[in-house]
Amino acid sequence: MPEPVSAPAIRLAAATLHFGKTRLSFDCTVPQGAAVAVAGPSGAGKSTLFNVIAGFETPAEGKVELFGQDMAGRDPSERPVSVIFQENNLFAHLSVADNVGLGIDPALRLDAAARKRTATALARVGFAGYESRRPGSLSGGERQRVALARILVRNRPILLLDEPFAALDPATRADMAALLGQLHAENAVTMLFITHQPEDIRRLASRVLFIEAGEIRTDDPAERFLDREEPPAVARFLGRDPAYVPS
């Protein structure tokens, strides 16, 4: 596909959805290669933003453009996007290698070359030789690494991570963040991740989108976001204003 070099990786223009009485509307531009943290209170619309980009949710109005191309009418699998959730990224009845292999062929018709690619990807996330293991025998952090290996073989330019570290303990979290930072640097992907921890922003993010009540409230470089004193919801997120009570 022709990709104008200047086109942003993601452009949302008044992409609007209605859930009963709730209305969500997103406007933002994410440059290619950015590492963007998406923060905000629960229920503000962070996952919905991801659903709109990934094609799981179709906006009633507005536009979704990825690399300058209008995504209207494109199925999730036809978009340049890979997704990782907090959990359940792996099918428990498939081996680790098959779970990664799904990223090459979703019907699992894998030839020797494809098998080799999955093995290489597994080695890159530190899982060489784990091909025949089942996800059930792995820890939460290990399962997320296998999911990352799938992202590697799939090789799509946008990566959406929906709270990828939320279920992990602090040490595993730091390891995962380091691995993710490394993959981001090496593969020049555009990466968005939802987080509730300012710590993750410091580790990984170049930009921060803060979402409140269905809208993108602030869009800053990471350092500027971390220095913010307002609006109140951001100050609260950063732990600056414990007296603030969300309305």
């Binding site: 799981f56 699998s77 890979s82 997704v83 359940n88 099918f91 019907a107 699992l108």
Partner: protein
């Protein structure tokens, strides 16, 4: 989680329950064995017995195969199409056969598939002159599929809905389509529950009595249970009935053992969290619509036929029929007594084993904790017809069987409902105890106080559901009553059966409507109160 006095009380109640059930079944069994010895010593397994046993297993195997295989496309279509007009009603329709008396369903199926039914009319229009005969193997299979296809489809749908919602999103993101989605996501989930479902359906079909009695045709299509009934009521040949009963118990024991190995299908629905969203439904709306329409027509048509045939009966005359009044009163009285007894037996079966939840109990408690759940399921091993046969042989020594028969029928019906009632109450009580056990004990709310103020009010809903279900089961059943039914002892199913047997079809249709209505009134409110996943709930 129990005080010392409570432990004592529960042990006593458990002991009494165990004693009552074992004595009641034991006496019947002893009498049967006594008659076996007095038999004429003919060949143990004559060709007739072999044929009956073979047909019993053969029709059950075919019924199971058809029900489970046809349930797969239905469950997949329902799981895939999450939003369409009438989805909720289709799910409710799938629950209806569960509460419908077999006798009523059999009548509805004859209306649709019989010689004058709509199916044969359509076949005739299509130029086929050989009508489908509803009597014999075909009718038995249709009826068994009518009951078990919706059950199997619901259990499979629950299994599909238990798949993590993220998996459907991941599959859509990766571009997994039709066949690959089935092979890699749906089939593994169905395969896990299929053996349990098949075991359950096989057991239900192998011990099916009413359907085979009404739709089976002659000696070529007879199951063991029906053969027992015929041996007793037509040939009056107790030794043969006993031989058949022994064969039946051997078969059910083997089946129960097999099912215990396989494990039971889990009926729980999806866990909360992300709503399930399917992206493969859009392209298959037409084919899924066709599958679901056929399913709705197959399940719904006999119900509609029952309704229309019933309404066109001379209901005014029926309403004034004193025999119908007597049958209705008898049926309601037996159903009420039977449901009450069932709950009385179920409470110790559910509560007493909890005494052994934490170690350090005495041998008596441990024994009760093991024996009581088995007692609750005794009727699966020794079917109602067999216990009824035993008690029939006893009562006939005391002159007119109809004097004591109502009590016996009520007890047998209570035992018949016991496994289902225990299945409703057991998880509810377990959760309740985990929630309130410690608190009640620490506050000193124990004994009758606890039962009346905490346990019964908190368990009101499952108890009401269990009671209604036990009542409906007793109301609609043609099992024990088939052995005891007589001019002096008439229940609604027995009256309906006699009207069918004497070809008074219009009367039969009217009675079937009344019986079906009563049973669904009791079972549907609780059965359709399944949790629906709603709202958009974030992760």
């Amino acid at each position: 989680m129990f005080s010392r006095a409570e432990r004592k009380g529960l042990r006593l109640a458990g002991g009494l329950t165990l004693g009552f059930v074992l004595c009641f079944a034991g006496v019947a069994a002893a009498v049967l064995l006594g008659h076996a010895e007095s038999g004429d010593g003919g060949p143990l397994l004559d060709p007739y017995l072999v044929r009956v046993a073979r047909f019993t297993l053969w029709q059950a195997a075919l019924s199971t195969l058809l029900s489970v295989a046809l349930a797969i496309p239905v469950a997949r279509a329902l799981a895939r199409q999450r939003r369409f007009f009438g989805r909720v009603w289709l799910l409710r329709l799938a629950v209806v056969p569960l509460g419908l008396p077999a006798l009523v369903a059999a009548l509805g199926i004859v209306e649709i598939w019989g010689r004058q039914g709509i199916v044969n009319d359509l076949l005739h229009l299509a130029g086929l002159d050989n009508p489908v005969s509803v009597y014999g193997l075909a009718g038995i299979l249709i009826a068994h599929v009518f009951f078990n296809l919706p059950l199997a489809a619901r259990l499979m749908l629950a299994a599909l809905d238990r798949i993590a919602p993220e998996h459907w999103l991941t599959a859509a993101n990766l571009g997994m389509r039709g066949p690959a989605l089935f092979r890699l996501v749906e089939w593994p989930a169905i395969r896990r529950v299929a053996p349990g479902i098949a075991g359950l359906v096989f057991m239900l079909c192998a011990t099916s009595f009413t359907i085979v009695l009404t739709l089976g045709g002659g000696p070529a299509a007879t199951t063991i249970e029906v053969a027992i009934y015929q041996a007793l009521r037509f040939d009056f040949d107790p030794p043969r009935a006993v031989l058949l009963a022994a064969l039946q118990i051997l078969m059910t024991a083997a089946l129960l053992g097999l099912i215990a190995l396989i494990g039971r299908p889990d009926e729980e629905g999806a866990t909360a969290g992300r709503p399930i969203r399917r992206f493969d439904g859009r392209h298959r709306r037409l084919s899924d619509g066709a599958i679901l329409f056929l399913f709705a027509a197959f399940t719904g048509a006999p119900l509609i036929a029952t309704l229309t045939a019933g309404l066109s009966a001379d209901l005014g005359r029926l309403a004034l029929d004193p025999l119908l009044h007597r049958a209705l009163a008898t049926s309601l009285a037996i159903a009420f007594a039977s449901a009450s007894l069932c709950l009385l037996l179920a409470l110790p079966v559910v509560m007493t084993p909890r005494l052994a939840d934490r170690g350090g109990t005495d041998a008596t408690t441990r024994f009760l904790a093991r024996a009581l759940p088995a007692t609750g399921s005794l009727i699966l091993l020794v079917p109602p017809i067999i216990i009824a046969t035993g008690w029939f042989l006893i009562l006939r020594h005391f002159g007119d069987t109809t004097r004591h028969a109502p009590a016996i029928v009520a007890i047998i019906n209570a035992l018949m409902a016991l496994p289902f009632v225990v299945r409703v109450l057991e998880p509810a009580f377990r959760t309740h105890l985990a929630r309130t056990g410690r608190l009640a004990l620490s506050l000193g709310v124990t004994g009758a106080n606890r039962l009346l103020r905490i346990d019964l009010p908190a368990l009101r809903k499952p108890l009401a559901m269990a009671f209604a279900f036990a009542m409906a089961l007793s109301l609609g059943d043609l099992g024990a009553i088939a052995i005891f039914g007589a001019d002096g002892f008439v229940t609604l199913p027995w009256l309906l059966f006699s009207r069918m047997a004497s070809y008074r079809t219009a009367d039969a249709a009217g009675i079937a409507l009344l019986l079906g209505f009563l049973c669904l009134l009791l079972t549907l409110p609780s059965a359709s109160a399944e949790p629906e996943t709603k709202g958009r709930g974030n992760a």
